[in-house]
């Protein structure tokens, strides 16, 4: 079977969802939707034995073969890992949403349509081997994320957050497209596999660094790296299942995926290593530092996601160093990145679901109002505690293992001797350690402030009680995974992580089994990671206990200097600037626009005519002047003069008819019966039309024209006349290429079975023109109808919030 089609399974299902929602009222629509990720998860599991041996599977359907664009599903260790995350976490999130989204109050139809659309897009991103379809799916994830964030579109904040995320991620996507195009110019292929095969040649190409930076911009905007992370906290306006799914487990990891996927191409470059590691660490620190400032549960989690994404990013950057040194530590970093990616999906997914449960059961997410929920919601508390401690990096949870690997990789960076790492490298472990301290602090802050302490239960908007068990199933599964992974990290490593590492660094290993990494929880007392962790716990606990003392320090940062303010100012400024620019020349009057067009057209055409020296007149090719022709020309000129100088509109209209009829007579004189016939009928119909519209037109001489505008109009109309005359004369006098008319004469009977070339051209030779012309004609007709019949009577103020 062509398994590339499975990418589109959620999409096809999305078409059916509205019907299920409309006609099957008794059952929550989510139960139908749940089938999709479950089936896909089961199916994709069957690829594990293949990728475990370092193999891969390819399935392709051509899309635009002439341009080399195809839907290609390329499944190796890396894409399989992401596919399993998307479908696995997807199943749990859909299950959770069944209890979270009320089937009576919410419009489930569109919710699940967007969610399924996202699933297709995300599967496409991680499986596409073709950069163009990768880009297509990439933007589709941005669009579905936009729709999901703005799901409660009556709220101002939802719309704001949706727009913000769209603006930033689509900007990044466009940059990435530029990078892809540069890559395709360099390697003459859209296929990532083929590009990787050419990687050594690409490095010396002049476009290499530009492509690198453009692709990183795409990855950094999507994965919420500094300074683009600002969209993620605002994206928390989405329903919580969406936050858990898109904005922590899958979509924001698309940037990580991109970096991992392109490491074999760019990894040898020092720019890549510095940017990915540096920005990653900065984001890690920034996110963890500002997480403690937040008071909204989901905002804390958003900042923590930002910081964890930074952590994974920096590990990938450090992992790329293994192209330059044989030191085992850096291969270790890539392993740690993939490992932490899985761990983050498990604990953060669970934490988001708990934040949603608290919001659902108490009616607020404000941590200042919460507290003392432990005895009321013991199950939620347990899950939250497991997730938080794993995030903080404590045993016996999976976060401990990957956090320790992270610390050791960062310490090892100090010893790396290329690219000035020996001088600046010392900064890396320090920043990493400080950020880890803050991570520890906000993890405690999140869980303890909510569940411990003095409960102000009576003041909550709702009377809290434990969530229904259905809602708790998904977070509980994730929490148990957090613990299970701690005890069997190497099984997971063998099945999933090592194949993924091999996909990131294909040149270094022959098969996944060659990766000599064995994750241990206990390295003995001599291990650096252990003592760093102990220090983190001590300092972090101290910081947590003193939060009330130092939290006000955040207020020192002036609001004007924040990145959010910068974004707002940019948006406001561009809106205002564009508005002013458009208003400067858009007067809303058709005659102004016609002036622009005619002026531009005549100036460019006349200029080209003389610059290219194309103006030629061949007097010999002209027809002889006949009496009829001369008389007709006189009538034509008289009519034109009458149109221009007429005092009333009625007279001008009739004179215009006269112009048309005399042109038609010229067609008769020069033996063009088809043209003459058409011209005559057109003139008749259009004069009739003018007469019909006559009563709507304003009287002549009432345009409020000044002398100056009249002179400008005269100049432009004269130049248009000159342009047409010159072009007509010179195109008649010279032929650059032989005329096609002989071909028409030869083939009209044999090929087209007709006799009248003019009409055969219309319906057959150039049928496309006619087809589009009648389409335009139909649109024009309907537009006139719409403009006149369906005229908006009064502008009603519509409030989007209602």
């Amino acid at each position: 079977m062509e398994f590339v089609l499975l990418i589109f399974l959620p999409f096809v299902f999305a078409i059916l969802v509205p019907f299920a929602y409309k006609y099957i009222k008794g059952i929550h629509t989510g139960w139908f939707v749940l089938l999709v990720p479950l089936v896909l998860f089961g199916y994709y599991l069957s690829f594990i034995p293949l990728t475990m041996d370092g193999g891969h599977a390819i399935s392709e359907i051509k899309w635009i073969p002439t341009l080399g664009i195809a839907f290609t599903s390329y499944i190796d260790g890396l894409s399989l890992l992401f596919t399993l995350l998307i479908t696995g976490i997807g199943s749990l999130v859909v299950l959770y949403s069944i209890f979270y989204m009320d089937k009576k109050k919410e419009n489930l139809g569109s919710f699940y349509v967007y969610l399924l659309l996202f699933m297709t897009a995300m599967l496409g991103v991680v499986q596409s081997d073709n950069t163009m379809t990768l880009y297509l799916f990439w933007e589709l994830t941005s669009i579905s994320s936009f729709l999901l964030i703005g799901y409660w579109y009556t709220r101002d904040k939802s719309r704001f957050g949706a727009l913000k995320s769209m603006m930033i991620t689509v900007f990044g996507g466009l940059m990435m497209l530029g990078g892809f195009i540069l890559l395709s110019i360099m390697g003459e292929t859209f296929s990532i596999r083929e590009l990787i095969a050419q990687a050594p040649d690409l490095v010396s190409h002049p476009y290499f660094t530009s492509a690198l930076i453009l692709i990183l911009l795409g990855a950094f905007t999507k994965s919420a790296q500094f300074p683009f992370y600002i969209w993620l906290p605002d994206a928390m306006e989405a329903p919580t299942p969406v936050s858990a799914y898109l904005h922590s487990a899958t979509m924001v990891k698309a940037g990580i995926y991109l970096v991992a996927r392109f490491t074999p191409i760019f990894g040898t470059s020092s720019t890549w290593i510095w940017l990915v590691t540096g920005i990653g660490l900065l984001t890690l620190f920034w996110g963890s530092f500002f997480a403690v400032k937040q008071t909204d549960l989901k905002a804390i989690l958003a900042f923590s996601t930002v910081s964890q994404l930074g952590l994974i990013m920096s590990l990938l950057g450090a992992g790329a160093i293994s192209y330059h040194t044989t030191e085992a530590m850096f291969a270790f970093a890539t392993y740690a990145a993939i490992f932490h990616l899985i761990n983050h999906a498990t604990f953060k997914g669970g934490l988001f679901m708990i934040a949603g449960i608290i919001d659902h059961e108490t009616g607020t997410r404000d941590i200042r109002k919460l507290g003392g929920l432990m005895s009321i919601m013991p199950l939620s508390f347990t899950v939250a505690l497991i997730g938080s401690l794993s995030m903080a990096g404590l045993p016996p949870f999976n976060g401990f293992l990957s956090k320790e690997m992270f610390l050791e990789s960062m310490v090892a960076l100090r010893h790396f001797e290329l690219f000035q790492f020996d001088t600046w490298g010392i900064l890396f472990p320090i920043v990493a350690w400080v950020a880890s301290v803050f991570t520890f602090t906000y993890s405690l802050y999140f869980v303890l402030k909510t569940f411990l302490g003095q409960g102000k239960v009576d003041q909550l908007p709702k009377r809290p009680h434990e969530a229904p068990i259905g809602m708790l199933v998904a977070p509980m599964i994730l929490a148990s995974l957090v613990i299970i992974i701690f005890f069997i990290p190497n099984v997971l490593g063998k099945w999933v992580i090592k194949p993924a590492v091999m996909a990131v660094q294909p040149t270094l290993y022959g098969s996944p089994a060659d990766i000599d990494i064995h994750v241990l929880a206990w390295h003995g007392f001599g291990s650096v990671g252990l003592w760093l962790t102990v220090a983190i716990v001590i300092v972090g606990s101290l910081l947590y206990l003193t939060i009330p003392k130092w939290q006000p320090l955040y207020k020192l940062q002036p609001a004007k200097l924040s990145l959010n303010e910068g974004y707002d100012a940019l948006m406001r400024g561009s809106e205002k600037g564009m508005n002013r620019l458009s208003r400067a020349y858009m007067t809303g009057l058709i005659r102004t626009y016609l002036l622009y067009m005619f002026a531009f057209l005549s100036v460019t055409v006349i200029a080209v005519l003389f610059i290219k020296d194309a103006f030629v007149v061949d007097m010999n090719s002209f027809a002889a002047i006949t009496l009829y022709g001369a008389l007709n020309a006189v009538i034509l000129l008289l009519s034109i003069g009458f149109v221009v100088f007429a005092k009333s509109r009625l007279a001008a209209i009739i004179a215009l008819g006269g112009v048309g009829y005399s042109v038609a007579l010229f067609f008769v004189i020069f033996k063009a019966p088809d043209l003459a016939l058409t011209q005559l009928v057109i003139e008749t119909v259009s004069v009739a039309l003018f007469l019909l519209a006559f009563k709507h037109l304003p009287a002549l001489n009432e345009h409020g024209e000044t002398k100056k505008t009249k002179v400008v109009n005269l100049i432009i109309s004269l130049s248009v006349g000159v342009m047409v005359t010159l072009v007509a004369l010179s195109s008649h006098s010279q032929k650059l290429i032989p005329s096609i008319s002989q071909y028409y004469k030869d083939t009209v009977a044999t090929e087209a079975g007709g006799g009248n070339i003019v009409n055969v051209i219309l319906v057959d030779y150039r049928g496309f023109d006619t087809l589009f012309e009648i389409a335009v004609l139909a649109i024009a007709g309907i537009a006139v109808l719409g403009m006149i019949r369906l005229r908006v009577s009064r502008k009603e103020t519509t409030d989007e919030n209602k």
Partner: protein, 140 residues
């Protein structure tokens, strides 16, 4: 104001059919002699405009009770359908076919798919033009 247009109205009743029949003739003759769907459609429009001038909009709507936007739509579908039809015969989009047939009454006749396309053109021209004229003329 009620005007007395007896002469115009009486002539129109006759002339309308002459123009209309001529437009049909020109439409069918188009492949071999001057004419075709576009001119044919315009001539038909001209005939209807004459009716409009002699009578008034309401009378015309009673005489010709079509929704002309739908006529436009049918025309466009017909044209596009003819063009797309060739795909089903495994030839490129917009390939026309023609052959000679012996038909009752007409005798030896050459039939074209281009004719179908041209009738689409005819319908779109008539439909759009009358739609525009009706909308502008009927607006108060």
């Amino acid at each position: 104001m009620k005007t007395n247009d007896v002469i115009l109205q009486t002539t129109t009743k006759v002339v309308f059919f002459i123009i209309f029949l001529f437009s049909i003739h020109i439409f069918f003759a188009g492949h071999y002699t001057p004419g075709g769907g576009f001119v044919g459609g315009l001539l038909t429009t001209g005939a209807i405009v004459l009716l409009l001038l002699a009578f008034d909009l309401k009378t015309i709507q009673q005489i010709l009770p079509f929704n002309f936007t739908i006529v436009t739509g049918i025309g466009l579908l017909l044209a596009l359908g003819t063009a797309a039809g060739s795909i089903f015969f495994n030839v490129p989009f917009f390939t026309h076919a023609f052959d000679d047939f012996t038909l009752p009454l007409f005798g030896e006749t050459s039939l074209h798919t281009a004719m179908l396309f041209d009738s689409g053109v005819y319908l779109v021209v008539v439909g759009s033009a009358i739609t525009i004229i009706q909308s502008i003329g009927g607006d108060d």
